[in-house]
Structures are given as C-alpha cells and as structure tokens.
C-alpha cells in the first residue's frame, strides 16, 4: 500500500516537472486503438483577451500540438496481453505524435480501461485538537480512514476525498480554516489489479518514457464528456470501448463509483465475424459502415457484399441484408447494456437525484444506440462527445477520443487525491527516527 502511495507521490512530482518543461504526452492505451496526444502548456491566460470567455475551466492553459493514433496490438480487455506488441504500438503512436509536434516528450500520463476496477467508499473521522481545521488535520483524517481488504495483489488507483463534514455540517469542499470539533471525511477509493498496472508501467518504461500520472479511462472519459451540471447533480458516464465498457458515476464533481464491464465493441465485431463467417477485418469494416440497432423495412432491401477470399465463386459473392447484420449486432449490444444496468443497480444509481446517463467511447457511435439504451438504462440517456480542446485535430474530436481528451483535462487540473496531502506528522518522524537508530546500530 505504501509503495503505490509513494509512487503516486513521485508521479505527481513528475507531473509538476513536466508542467515546468511545458510538454507532456497523453497516452490512451485502449483495446482497439492507442492514442497519443502531446500537450504544450503556455501559462494560464494566453487566450483571455481574444475570445473573452475567461479562463475556460483551465483549458486555455494547454494546447494539443501533436496527435497520433494507431491500431492497438496485444491489448485484450483493456489489459496488456502481449508486451512486445503493445510496446511497439505505443512507440508508433508516440513517434508519430512527436513528429507532428516536433518536440521530444519525456513524461507521459496514461490511462487504461481494464484491470477490474473496484470502488470502495471509505469514511474516517477525527476529534480536532484545537478547533481550527489545519492541513495536518486533513491529512490525519484521511489517514484515519480504515482501508478495507483490497484483496491479493490489488493496488489503489484513485483515492479521492469526496466530502468533508464538520460537526454535522456536511458537504464541505474544503474544510481548512473552518472551526469545529469533529472532522469527518468520505473518500472514494478505486482499486485495480496490481499486475496490470505494473505491466503498463513496464511497457511505458521500455519506451524510454516516464510516467507522470495514471488514471482509469472511465474516470478520464467522464471528465471530458459530462458537462458541468451533470457532474454536479449526478450522472453516469458509460465509455463503450473496444474491449471493456467503463462505468463511472459522478456526483458533486467527484467520482463516487467506477466499474467496468469486460465487453465492448470488439465482441460485437467478433459476433459479426462468426455469424457471417468473414475475417475480423472485414467484419469491423461492415460493422462500422453498415451497422445499426433498429431494423426497418428499408434495411431488408439494402444488400451488403460481404465478399471473401476463398476463390469459391459462391462464397466470394455472398450478400446479406442489413437486417441480418442488425440481428447479429443487437443482442450483443443489449447484453452489454444489461450488464451496465446491473452494475448501475448494484451501485445504487437509482437513488441519485439526477439520473443522467451519458454514452461515450467508440462503441457509442452505433446508429440507434441511444434508442436501445433508453429502453434498457432509463429515459435520460444522451450520447456524449468529448469537450473541445485547443488544437485537437478534427479526426480526434469523436467520441472514441473521450478518455484521451479527459486525460488532457486531468493533466491540466488533477483533482485532489489522497497522496496530494502531506503525510501526517505523527507517522513520519517515528519511522525516520527508527530508521536513523537502525542505521546507527548497523554501523557502530
């Protein structure tokens, strides 16, 4: 636990160093594509005069100067399966983005969707020594949270204080300097499989890059595709990726729950491939070009050449109607959405005041998805596209780039995490004193 704590701390320092150098890379390691964006930080107020919209929630700080995306290799369910292949794919993306930006980047912030995230809500409370809440008190109350048993080999990816309460006054964003007797905190902790994170770290290290931060892609895509009032009032963001579908629930601008369903667009493609007996590449092409979820009478007459390479005339001249394609795709999409529904029910999403659901990610571009999602998930469903950031190429503004854009915002304005606060004073000296005594014992 402390290991990852310190490494997260080190990453924060790395991020600060990168901000000082002014260039940082964003890496979205997905199942179907790997995207790399390069951001340049120009200082806070470069845009203010010309567009007159104020600091734009901190986005005017940075500008995307390089963007590249490549087909992902060796990634399954958002986890690295073949390290060499993934390393090559990351190299391809980073090299192309560097070439476009014409700068060298050394620091990278990465996100991934797999590794079975699990959410925990923690609570801690503390009697204040003097009545004013200080920074140390906040650290201490965070330290007083009792951490549940995360399981074998699991590590903490996010640990964000969501809510502070001071003597029955709840909903405080920042309790420092306020007066009270008893400080309580609610914290959201997201744990992931440690091995997956280690693999990703190792892979990025082999590309001569240094990791300046790591995030869950469900969290990152929610930052970019939920608008401000949705984040405030409560909403769920469903990031339909290639190999995994990430779910994150936001409330009062904090993530309160995250999970992922290990199914995504690739499964739809493999269904098409199996059902029509065509290669995966062709299946992907047919899915993106002709795919849909609602069949109409028109679709019976729209015939699609599915082709083949067998040399057999009958096989190579096959045609299917679009209705057939829809018939293959729809059950799988329904299955994914039902899994999502089950996850949301388990999280208690129906008790939130606002139950907005935002679909994003590459899989959300299937025509007719909003209709079917309305029937399964609830009435308030919309398709989300990521926020527009400066300098982002037109090709990278689609829903598939929600998590990459979210990571840009995360890089510019990370939310407070557990490790951003100081180590509580009473723990720190004891350990170092013990260490000093040990050193003396060892050496004399």
């Amino acid at each position: 636990m402390t290991d990852l704590y310190t490494s997260q701390r080190a990453m924060r320092n790395m991020r600060r160093a990168a901000m000082q150098r002014g260039v940082i890379a964003i890496l979205d390691v997905g199942t179907s594509k790997i995207a790399c964006l390069i951001l340049r930080f120009d200082g806070p107020d470069r845009l203010r005069e010309q567009d007159g919209v104020g600091p734009m929630a901190g986005q005017s700080q940075f500008r995307v100067i390089g963007a590249a995306t490549t087909r992902s290799r060796g990634v399954r369910f958002g986890e690295i399966a073949v390290m060499n292949e993934t390393e090559r794919a990351i190299r391809t993306a980073v090299q192309a983005a560097q070439k476009m930006a014409n700068v060298r980047v050394d620091h990278v912030i990465a996100c991934f969707s797999g590794a079975e995230p699990r959410s925990y809500g923690l609570a801690g409370e503390l009697d204040l020594q003097d009545s004013v809440v200080t920074e140390q008190d906040v650290s201490r109350v965070l330290a007083s949270c009792d951490v549940p048993d995360l399981g074998q080999g699991r590590e903490v990816l996010h640990a964000q204080p969501v809510n502070f309460a001071l003597d029955h006054r709840s909903g405080l964003g920042d309790p420092r300097g306020q007066i009270g007797h008893r400080l309580a905190v609610d914290m959201h902790l997201l744990s992931v499989d440690g091995d997956v994170v280690q693999n990703l770290l190792y892979c990025i290290k082999r590309c001569d890059l240094e990791l300046a931060g790591i995030a869950s892609s469900a969290y990152a895509s929610a930052i970019s595709s939920l608008v401000e009032d949705e984040q405030e009032l409560g909403a769920a963001c469903i990031d339909m990726g290639g190999g995994a579908t990430g779910i994150s629930i936001f409330m009062k601008k904090h993530m309160i729950y995250a999970d992922s369903v290990r199914m995504g667009g690739d499964h739809v493609t493999s269904d098409v491939s199996k059902g029509l007996q065509i290669p995966l590449v062709t299946a992907e092409k047919i899915k993106t070009r002709h795919g849909g979820l609602y069949a109409t009478g028109m679709d019976d007459r729209e015939m699609i050449d599915i082709g083949g390479d067998s040399g057999d005339w009958e096989k190579d001249r096959r045609q299917i109607s679009r209705t057939e394609l829809i018939g293959i795709m729809r059950p799988r999409v329904e299955e994914i959405l039902e899994e999502v529904r089950a996850t949301l029910d388990a999280a208690g999403f129906d008790t939130l005041p606002s139950q907005q659901i935002v679909l994003t990610g590459g899989g959300s571009q299937i025509p007719g998805l909003d209709g079917i999602a309305t029937r399964i998930l609830g009435q308030r469903v919309r398709l989300g596209r990521p926020l527009r950031v400066q300098g982002l190429p037109q090709a990278a503004t689609g829903a598939a780039f929600a998590s990459a854009v979210g990571l840009c915002l995360f890089a510019a304005h990370p939310q407070d995490e557990w490790w951003d606060f100081e180590i509580p004073a009473e723990r720190y000296p004891a350990r170092s004193l013990r260490r000093a005594v040990k050193w003396f014992k060892d050496n004399w």
Binding site: R71, R88, A89, R91, T92, Q95, Q98, K99, R104
Partner: protein
C-alpha cells in the same frame, strides 16, 4: 508450364508501421533541442569551417588566395574612374602655387587609392605662406588643392634681416628691404613675433600718434616700447599695455606731452608716468628754478 498452386496476393492486412527500437530512439534523440540545433546548424557550419581551414592550411593555397585578392584589388584600383591625372592649386599666388606643386611632388597620373591626402596636406602646410590646405579628389581625375594664404600684417626686424609675419606671429616670407612693404608696421626685438597680436592692438590704439609712430620694440621678451620719431620712446608695462598707452594718449591730448622736449615716457608703474627730459630741457628747467648745477665729466 503453369504452377498448379494459384498465386494469391498476400494478406490484405496492412502491416503496422511500428518503428524499430533504435529508429525510435534516434528520432527522439534528434528531437532533443540541443542535439537538433547542433545537427541542423552547428554540424554543417563546423564542416564548412573545417573544410576551409583544411584548404587554407596548405601554404601554396594560401599564397594563391592572397595573390588573387591582391590582384583583384589592384585591378579595381587601376580603373580609369579612379585615376588622378591633374593637380589644381587654387587660392594661391603664382609663386606660391609653384612652391605648392613642388611640395606636393605626386607622380601623376596615379590611382586615387594610392594618394595619401593627409600626408600631402601636411607636406604643403610646412610652407610658411600656407595657412591651411584642403585637398580633395574631384570627379574627372582632378586633385584639387585649396590654399588659404597667410596674410602678412607686420614687418619684423631681426638681426638677420626683415621678415613678414601674419597676425598670429607666424613667418610668412622674408623681405629684402623695408621699403617694399612700407604699408606694414614695424616690430623689432627678440620674441616680438610671438606677441604680434598685442603689437597690432597697440598700433590700432595709437590714434593721433600714428603718423609719428616708427615701430614697436619688444623688450626682454616681455613688454613693448613704442618708438616715435625724434627718438622718443614710450615704455609700456608688461600688464595691460593698451590701457596704459591709452592713458598716455589722453595725457598727450590734454597737455600736448609728446610734442615737448622729452626723451622717454615711462609707463611701467601704473601709479605715475615718469618722464625723462632731454639734457637741454633739464638744464633749462633747472635754470628756471634757479638751481645752479655743476657739470662735470662724471
């Protein structure tokens, strides 16, 4: 004969253009700002400089380069546009012009690059009669020498002879006889030339005594004596001689002093003028006062 196995095009799957580890590293290295600027700017410049230095390090090459440069320069300087073929002396009398031409001593025609105008000017200005010389190369290959002559304002008599001096006391020319320049005042004595401006002031102040003025004598290189006809002398003080002289003129105007029988008027003490009478006048005045003096050999 035909192959029984049908040749099919290779798999349609596009190979991913993943860079090799080393190409990736080289590209990143090249994007490092220092390396990049060095390779793009520093290295070519270094190579150019190195090649040049290598070529120059060979002695014959260097000689050839210097020879070519010199040749180019000479060729350029020898162009007819820069040739000076005539020296025109202006603002001088004929004698002086001749002397200036002799002093100039330039082997015309020659290139204007080769003429050292400053040295030529210095040479011309060594002539006493030349106050200032302006040399310039005019279009058409003419070297124009503008001479400002010294104007003689006084004749200085020394033991060696007569000299004309200008208002600063500088020698202008020699003079054979005083009669040649009877219009100029005469000054004499050692160091008289250096005090010429003062002498001119005194002569200007002479006023009614001008017709009687014969000249000024510098005494001991510090003060002036005004010599009038009938061998009368006015001894002027070292300080403020003009004022003293004017006082004397006022005295003369009031009492007709200088027409009397006196030898000298000594103005060296500004409290009182001292007169020296001629022996006749002295005897006369004593006789009038009833004083009998015994004249002896002493």
């Amino acid at each position: 004969m035909q192959s029984l196995i049908a040749r099919r095009p290779a798999s349609r799957v596009r190979r991913d253009p993943a860079p090799s580890k080393w190409s990736y590293r080289v590209q990143r290295w090249m994007l490092t700002p220092y390396v990049r600027s060095f390779v793009l700017k520093g290295l070519p410049m270094l190579m150019l400089v190195g090649a040049g230095a290598l070529w120059l390090s060979h002695e014959p090459n260097r000689q050839e380069l210097i020879g070519q440069l010199t040749h180019l320069r000479e060729e350029f300087e020898a162009r007819p546009e820069f040739r000076v073929s005539l020296a025109r002396v202006e603002g001088a009398t004929d004698d002086l012009a001749e002397a200036v031409r002799l002093k100039l001593a330039l082997p015309l025609p020659m290139s204007s690059f080769d003429i050292d105008l400053d040295a030529a000017r210095a040479r011309i200005e060594t002539l006493d009669a030349v106050q200032k010389a302006d040399l310039r190369v005019r279009s058409g290959g003419v070297l124009q020498v503008l001479i400002t002559e010294r104007v003689p304002v006084a004749v200085w008599r020394t033991e060696d002879g007569l000299t004309l001096v200008d208002e600063t006391g500088h020698r202008v020319a020699g003079l054979l006889s005083r009669a040649d320049r009877a219009d100029l005042p005469l000054i004499a004595g050692l160091g008289a030339d250096e005090a010429t401006p003062e002498a001119l002031d005194l002569i200007a102040a002479a006023g009614p005594l001008t017709p009687r003025l014969r000249g000024l004598v510098r005494m001991g290189e510090r003060r002036w004596d005004v010599v009038l006809d009938r061998n009368q002398r006015i001894l002027l003080p070292e300080q403020k001689p003009v004022q003293a002289f004017e006082r004397l003129l006022a005295l003369d105007h009031a009492q007709d002093l200088m027409n009397r029988d006196i030898l000298t008027v000594d103005l060296r003490s500004d409290h009182r003028p001292t007169l020296r009478l001629t022996p006749n006048a002295l005897a006369e005045i004593r006789r009038a006062q009833g004083l009998e003096t015994v004249e002896n050999e002493l």
